[in-house]
């Protein structure tokens, strides 16, 4: 989770920086071509064409870079949406404040991407018995779905499935590993 925050932060710094760099380059091209203009009529005519050309090229380059950045941001947002899981306490399907914040962000993402539908997976740690954990996993998935519906996401876009303790994220046998397994996971289908 931390890694993604740093990534987002880094992009938040790089993005505007790149935009600034692009506009600076544009300015330089402008002053460069401006100089020969007042020299002569024909040279003026000749000078105008190269200015537009270089201008257009620069603009296209800027747009290309911007599109690339937007694509990167989109991928980052999508990765965050898929990779950041919501975590639960032992034997509980209650959404803690941190979980609720994360779900609000995910709801925003879904509002921005009206075309996607998702599957919410409920998981449990390996302690406890597996029939009970299948039921608990379902409750976790359902709790997340209810919360998202309350935030305005249409229920038809949200499927739920429980894997109980069958698909742990971490196979360790300690509290650290178990905490990582008590989760609800989003996947886009």
């Amino acid at each position: 989770m931390r890694k993604n925050i740093w990534l987002a932060l880094a992009l938040a710094i790089i993005l505007p920086t790149m935009l600034l760099t692009v506009s600076c380059a544009k300015k330089q091209v402008d002053t460069g071509t401006m100089a020969p203009e007042p020299a002569a009529e024909q040279p003026v005519a000749a000078a105008v064409v190269p200015t537009d050309d270089a201008d257009a090229k620069a603009r296209m380059e800027a747009e290309r870079l911007q599109a690339q950045e937007e694509e990167r941001a989109r991928m980052a947002a999508r990765n965050a949406f898929i990779n950041e899981d919501v975590y639960f306490e032992f034997d509980s399907a209650a959404l803690l404040p941190m979980a609720q914040n994360l779900l609000s962000q995910k709801a925003e993402y879904m509002r921005a991407m009206p075309g996607i539908n998702i599957s919410i997976e409920g998981h449990c740690d390996e302690r406890g018995t597996d029939a009970y954990n299948l039921a608990l996993g379902q409750r976790r998935a359902d709790a997340v779905k209810s919360f998202m519906v309350n935030l305005g996401i249409s229920a038809s876009r949200l499927e739920t499935i429980s894997y109980g303790e069958e698909r742990p994220a971490d196979f360790g046998q300690n509290e650290e590993a178990w905490a990582k397994n008590r989760r609800a996971h989003f996947s886009i289908y």
Partner: protein, 439 residues
């Protein structure tokens, strides 16, 4: 609670010792209040070849071993070492008239089994007899006719006769176990004989397939699988291999058949809440059985089908409750511990086994159906889960991680004679004992 139980047990043992020795002459074969505390010493000498030819001679020792192992599995008998026997196998016979019972009472045997094998061509004829050595009485004798390949079947049949004669129960020798193993890379359902022999694979779904449950006639096996997406209940016809699955949205968990009926209970969540429902054997809805917010899962039925024990979180933590189907009345069974699940109702109707999680372990506990006298049967032996009773209520199978990987174990209903049933690649879990009608 446990301390009290063992004190009571100790007092009973001391009281028994104080009884007049005149009681010894009238042998009570098996005290079914706890038949495993005092195992009956039994002798199974090498069989005799009662006909011409060598084919029978090759079997006399191994056949006797096979029958002895089967009877020992029940936990009722202490098998005496053949090295201590006084009789001369060449001289003594297999019928009452030909046996010197003093040879046997002297070495401490109270029960004796003799066997005679005759093989002629393809046909094998076997005579098996059970004697009470102190009374010099023949308790049961049978003659079986078959081929050499029928040896195990004959051993099973006679073991059933022995148990029926001594306990009145029909035992478990015609039953099988279903269980889950992931040795193939996926959790699949397998079956085996009561003693772990003859393992057969039932499913090839290459997904997560689990929770086997036998119908009470042994002809169908229900289970759950993720092969079509969310956990779904399948009903498999063991006769023709056909399968149907239950069509309801949401998770479907823990099918369990009703005794004597082609119906099963299961937890479904299509209303948004996990409740237990009753379905037909083809997966159609009959009615809803629980009505409370929160998780309700893992039903097990009393042998008369009138009561259902199940796990509910309605009081905040998973505990076991009992519902009377006719009156609808629900009352709580377990009050000790904070996490009690996986109830299994004994086919004798008087006890419920379940798993209790606490102090970092999961252990098997047995409790009266009234909620009294909980007895913990495992301790400091890894995680012990998913208890299931033998059809005569004398043994319990369960999964245990005491060796590391989860394995199938068997013990008596009193927690004695805990031993591993089988070991396969991967981990085995969810053992479920079938009714005694599979052969």
């Amino acid at each position: 609670m446990n301390g009290m139980k063992s004190t009571v047990g100790l007092i009973c043992v001391l009281a028994a010792l104080c009884l007049p020795t005149g009681l010894r002459a009238e042998i009570k074969y098996l005290d079914l209040t706890n038949p495993f505390i005092r195992k009956i010493p039994m002798a199974v000498p090498v069989f005799q070849a009662t006909g011409p030819g060598d084919a029978a001679v090759a079997q006399v020792s191994s056949f006797a071993d096979e029958l002895q192992a089967m009877l020992e599995f029940s936990g009722y008998f202490k098998m005496l070492n053949r090295g201590s026997f006084l009789h001369d196998p060449q001289r003594s016979g297999i019928t009452k008239a030909a046996i010197n019972f003093l040879n046997w009472t002297t070495v401490g045997a109270e029960l004796l089994i003799t066997g005679g094998i005759q093989i002629q061509g393809d046909e094998m004829v076997v005579e098996l007899r059970l004697f009470d050595t102190f009374k010099a009485d023949l308790l049961v004798g049978k003659r079986y006719r078959g081929t050499e390949g029928d040896r195990r079947t004959i051993a099973r049949r006679f073991s059933t006769e022995v148990l029926k004669t001594l306990t009145g129960n029909s035992g478990f020798y015609d039953s099988r176990l279903a269980f889950v193993s992931n040795g193939s890379g996926h959790k699949e359902i397998y079956t085996c004989d009561f003693d772990g022999a003859n393992v057969q694979r039932l499913t090839q779904k290459r997904s997560i397939t689990s929770f086997p449950a036998w119908s009470s006639d042994g002809k169908h096996l229900a289970f759950t699988s993720f092969v079509n997406g969310p956990s779904q209940i399948f009903i498999h016809n063991l006769g023709n291999g056909q399968e149907v699955h239950v069509r309801h949205k949401g998770v479907q968990i823990a099918p369990e058949w009703l005794p004597g009926k082609f119906e099963l209970s299961a937890t479904l969540s299509f209303t948004g809440d996990q409740e237990i429902y009753m379905l037909t054997g083809t997966g159609k809805m009959i009615k809803r059985l629980t009505n409370s917010r929160g998780i309700d899962v893992g039903a097990t039925w009393s042998p008369d089908g009138k009561k259902m024990a199940f796990v509910s979180k309605r009081s905040g933590r998973p505990q076991i409750y009992i519902k009377e189907i006719n009156t609808g009345r629900v009352h709580r069974l377990t009050f000790e511990g904070r996490y009690n699940t996986q109830p299994s109702w004994s086919p004798k109707g008087d006890l419920i086994a379940f798993s209790a999680m606490g102090q970092g372990e999961i252990n098997i506990v047995v409790i009266d159906v009234d909620g009294n006298n909980p007895v913990q049967l495992t301790r400091n032996q890894g995680d012990n889960e998913a208890p299931s009773w033998s059809p005569d209520g004398s043994l319990i199978t369960f999964s245990s991680t005491r060796e590391g990987k989860s394995r199938i174990y068997v013990m008596t209903a009193f927690g004695t004679d805990q031993r591993r049933l089988l070991a396969m690649p991967g981990a085995q879990s969810h053992p479920k004992w079938s009714p005694n009608t599979l052969y």
